[in-house]
């Protein structure tokens, strides 16, 4: 704005109207009157100028105080921005750490899942093997019943042989009676009879041995059957536990998978959070730089204000000077000199006006800078508020996610603990099974040994029977030789022979039964030993499975610990975000205030400009007055 130009609207109320006179006195008087008139006009203009200068000074004071407020707001904004930047930087670091931990947790959980899956497959295989083993043991149970039946049959067959021996003994007794009655002629009979009786007694005692052995065998077999039943129960229980373990493992795996899935999604949310914090940081940086800009603009204005105040003081002094000059002028003789002085003062004042106008131009530019910085600050702070709010919301979602993950992980751990417990039970069952299996093997070895004893004794019975047959033949020969008195003996000898034949037939049957018993024992023994070896190996497998389950539980515990920490971190993050939100709100408030202050400052600047402009008009009037004075 060119304030040297005459403003048409400027007031000239104090400007006097002049009338020229031709007479010297009149002129002189007129000149004096005019001089007085001008001096009054100058005086009044000077007062106006002084007034305007004072007005300007107070407007500048206003501007100064506005600047102080803006400076304070900028400082506050810069401080808050810096503070929230450091908070958010820490938050960002925490989020980065969390993301790393999440990735590690996911990797660990995946390893756990794979390991548990592997354990599950092994358990299924073990359960299958246990199932097979239980079938085998069932078949052994049936076979042991067969074995018992075979031993029963031996007992019965041997009982029959014993009865034949008893019958032989009876017949031999009758033969002895015949021999005794035949006296001298019966001597040969007596020998045959007594030898037959001896053989029958031997046969009876062998039968008795076998009977006892069979009874021992049956007792052993009963124990074997009992043990096999126990073993079968252990194995069946183990197999069914194996099935329940499979269910637990399925649950553990599905829980782990769900935990992984939620975590993976959660990790994405964390990424989002990280982006938001980054944006927030950028916003804070912008706010900080806007504050800096604003501060420098404020500094500039403050500097110019000082200058303005000085200049305006000069103007005030100049105006006061002019008032004095105007006083002098009333009675002055050297109007030209005064007019020159006034003219000089007016020129000085013009330069003041020009300076202030120039400075105001700069101030307005600076105010515009402040305004734009404040606007940026308001925008960024609003943006940051939104980011902080969104982040808080995300944190809440993540907290829920984390709690859900923890639930799944805990459930998974609980199921794995059940797996561990059940495996322990199977381990105990299998240990018992192996122990009882060993006892059973020993009992079967005993049965085998006893069965061999039967074989040996039975050979003796067979031999005895052969001898009895031979004796009966001898008896018949003796009886024939004795003629009439040998008739009774001949009958008895014949009976004995046919009995021995019966016994022989029965012995063949016994031999068959014994062979079948031997076969059963060998079969059972071989199946049993294989089964028990397998069970023994199962113990190793079970130990491995237990170790795997324990490892998985340990790994999951680690992950659970990480997620527990995450909840704590979440709380911290939230409070950081709340702090950042508060800071952003503060910044926004300060920036809003700055905007208002800037607006006011602009008004003040306009006011100053106008006032100074008016001052310019008066100075022009002053110049006119000075001119008039010189001419007059």
């Amino acid at each position: 704005m060119a304030f040297v130009e005459h403003n048409s609207s400027a007031a000239h109320s104090s400007a006097p109207t002049h009338k020229r006179s031709d007479t010297a006195n009149k002129r002189k008087t007129r000149t004096l009157a005019k001089q007085q008139q001008i001096s009054e006009a100058i005086d009044s203009t000077s007062s106006e100028i002084l007034g305007k200068a004072q007005e300007s000074v107070s407007a500048v004071e206003e501007l100064k105080s506005a600047m102080e407020q803006i400076a304070a707001a900028s400082e506050e904004s810069a401080g808050a921005a810096e503070q929230s930047l450091s908070v958010v930087t820490a938050l960002s670091k925490s989020i980065q750490k969390t993301m790393r931990e999440l990735n590690e947790s996911v990797a660990t959980a995946q390893t756990v899942k794979v390991s548990v899956e592997d354990t599950g497959e092994k358990v299924i295989e073990t359960a299958k093997r246990l199932h097979l083993a239980s079938q085998t043991v069932n078949s052994v149970q049936i076979k042991s019943a067969d074995m018992k039946k075979a031993s029963d049959n031996i007992g019965q067959a041997v009982g029959l042989i014993a009865k034949i021996s008893d019958q032989t003994n009876l017949l031999a007794l009758n033969a002895a009676i015949e021999a005794a009655k035949a006296k001298e002629q019966g001597k040969g009979f007596a020998v045959v009879a007594s030898e037959t009786r001896e053989l029958a007694a031997a046969s009876t005692s062998y039968s008795d041995v076998i009977r006892e052995v069979v009874s021992n065998i049956q007792e052993s077999i009963e124990e074997v059957e009992h043990n096999i039943k126990d073993v079968a129960i252990f194995i069946v229980n183990s197999a069914s536990l194996g099935e329940s373990i499979t269910a637990y493992i399925q649950s553990a795996m599905s829980d782990t998978q769900t935990a992984i899935d939620i975590t993976v999604i959660g990790a994405k949310k964390f990424e989002e959070l990280a982006e938001k914090t980054q944006d927030f940081s950028k916003g804070s940086e912008s706010i900080a730089s806007a504050a800096e800009e604003s501060a420098s603009a404020v500094a500039q204005i403050t500097n110019s204000i000082e200058m303005q105040v000085n200049v305006l003081q000069e103007a005030e002094e100049a105006a006061s000077g002019l008032s004095e000059l105007a006083e002098e002028l009333k009675n002055s003789t050297d109007a030209a000199k005064d007019a020159e002085e006034i003219s000089t003062a007016a020129e000085e004042l013009i330069s003041v006006v020009e300076e202030i106008q120039k400075s105001m131009q700069q101030t307005v530019t600076a105010l515009e800078q402040i305004e734009s910085a404040s606007q940026i600050t308001v925008d960024e702070a609003t943006q940051n508020q939104k980011l902080a709010e969104d982040s808080l919301e995300l944190q809440d979602i993540l907290l829920v996610d984390t709690q859900e993950v923890l639930e799944h992980l805990n459930s998974s751990t609980a199921n794995l603990k059940k797996v561990d417990d059940e495996l322990s039970k199977i381990f105990t069952f299998t240990t018992n099974c192996v122990d009882e299996g060993k006892v059973t093997s020993e009992q079967m070895a005993l049965v085998d040994k006893e069965a061999k004893k039967i074989n040996k004794t039975f050979v003796k019975i067979v031999n005895t029977n052969a001898q009895t047959t031979m004796l009966a033949v001898s008896g018949t020969i003796e009886a024939t030789r004795a003629g009439e008195s040998g008739k009774g003996f001949a009958v008895v000898s014949g009976d004995i022979r046919s009995l021995a034949q019966d016994a022989g037939n029965n012995m063949d049957k016994v031999q068959d039964v014994m062979d079948s018993l031997d076969e059963e024992i060998i079969k059972i023994d071989s199946i049993w030993n294989t089964t028990m070896n397998n069970q023994d190996n199962e113990l190793i497998t079970l130990s491995v499975l237990k170790d795997e389950a324990t490892m998985a539980i340990k790994s999951l515990d680690g992950i659970i610990g990480a997620f527990d920490n995450l909840i704590v971190a979440n709380e911290k993050n939230k409070s950081s975000l709340e702090e950042a939100l508060t800071a952003s709100t503060q910044i926004q408030g300060a920036a809003d205030q700055s905007l208002k202050n800037t607006e006011e400052s602009k008004h003040a600047a306009t006011l100053i400009t106008d006032t100074v402009s008016e001052m310019g008009d008066y100075i022009e009037d002053l110049a006119v007055s000075a001119d008039e004075l010189q001419q007059g």
Partner: protein, 256 residues
């Protein structure tokens, strides 16, 4: 002189082989009415009808069958007492004084004896082995279980007595009573018949518990021992001491 040594009710008797025809197993003895108790009936011996007399009855002893019946009644009472005392011992927390060993009670002894007897009839033996012995064994063994359970849970122990113990007891007693119908199978399988010629020349078939052996008795042996009282029907010669210290009475004649 040669004598046949035989046994009746654990007592030994000897008969001169000169008066013995043969030794037989008792089989299908047909009873005849209105005869003295010691005449058991008649039996087919190689196509001839022979009178069967009981040495036990002639000596005024009870028959083996009667003894077994009495034994069964005794066993029944003994085990009834056993069960009752077991229940009392549980209820009143007293010591159980009866045996828990199935081989130690009288029935256990008898069962072991029958089951180790090679002469015993198969059917009879089978019933003992299958229907009586296992239940008797379980009965006593469950007694041990009941006492163990009673330490922890009295009511459960009483429950076991009322269920399993009673069950085994009933099976044992019922099957023992059922044995009464099969006693002949048992006695016939272990008893013997001695075909004997009396001084009058009659043939008598004497039912004895068992025949042991043929032994030689010298006149000196006979002289050493005291005379024995004459029986009503059975006439004794004297008593002699056997090698193992047992005493045997020599039967001279039987006069029915």
């Amino acid at each position: 002189m040669e004598y046949l040594l035989l046994v009746v009710k654990e007592k030994y008797f000897a008969i001169n082989v000169e008066s013995i025809i043969e030794i037989l197993r008792p089989k299908d003895i047909t009873k005849i009415p209105e005869v003295p108790e010691y005449i058991l009936g008649v039996m087919n011996i190689r196509g001839h009808i022979g009178t069967v007399v009981s040495l036990r009855k002639m000596m005024h002893y009870k028959e083996m069958a009667e003894e077994l019946q009495e034994f069964i009644a005794e066993i029944k009472k003994g085990h009834e007492d056993w069960v009752r005392e077991l229940e009392e011992s549980v209820n009143q927390e007293k010591d159980f004084t009866k045996t828990l060993d199935p081989h130690a009670c009288p029935l256990g002894h008898w069962l072991d004896e029958v089951m180790t007897c090679l002469k015993c009839d198969d059917t009879f033996m089978d019933k003992i082995k299958r229907e009586i012995n296992p239940h008797h064994k379980h009965l006593h063994e469950k007694g041990r279980t009941v006492i163990d359970i009673a330490l922890e849970d009295k009511e459960k122990a009483v429950g076991v007595i009322r269920t399993e113990i009673h069950e085994h007891y009933n099976v044992v007693i019922n099957n023992l009573e059922a044995l009464n119908g099969d006693i002949d199978l048992w006695t016939n399988s272990i008893q013997r018949i001695v075909a004997f010629t009396t001084k009058k020349g009659d043939t008598l078939n004497i039912l004895v518990d068992d025949v042991i052996d043929i032994i030689s008795i010298t006149d000196e042996q006979k002289q050493k021992l005291a005379q024995v009282e004459e029986g009503e029907i059975v006439q004794f010669d004297c008593a002699i001491e056997l090698e193992d210290g047992k005493i045997a009475t020599i039967i001279n004649d039987i006069n029915i």
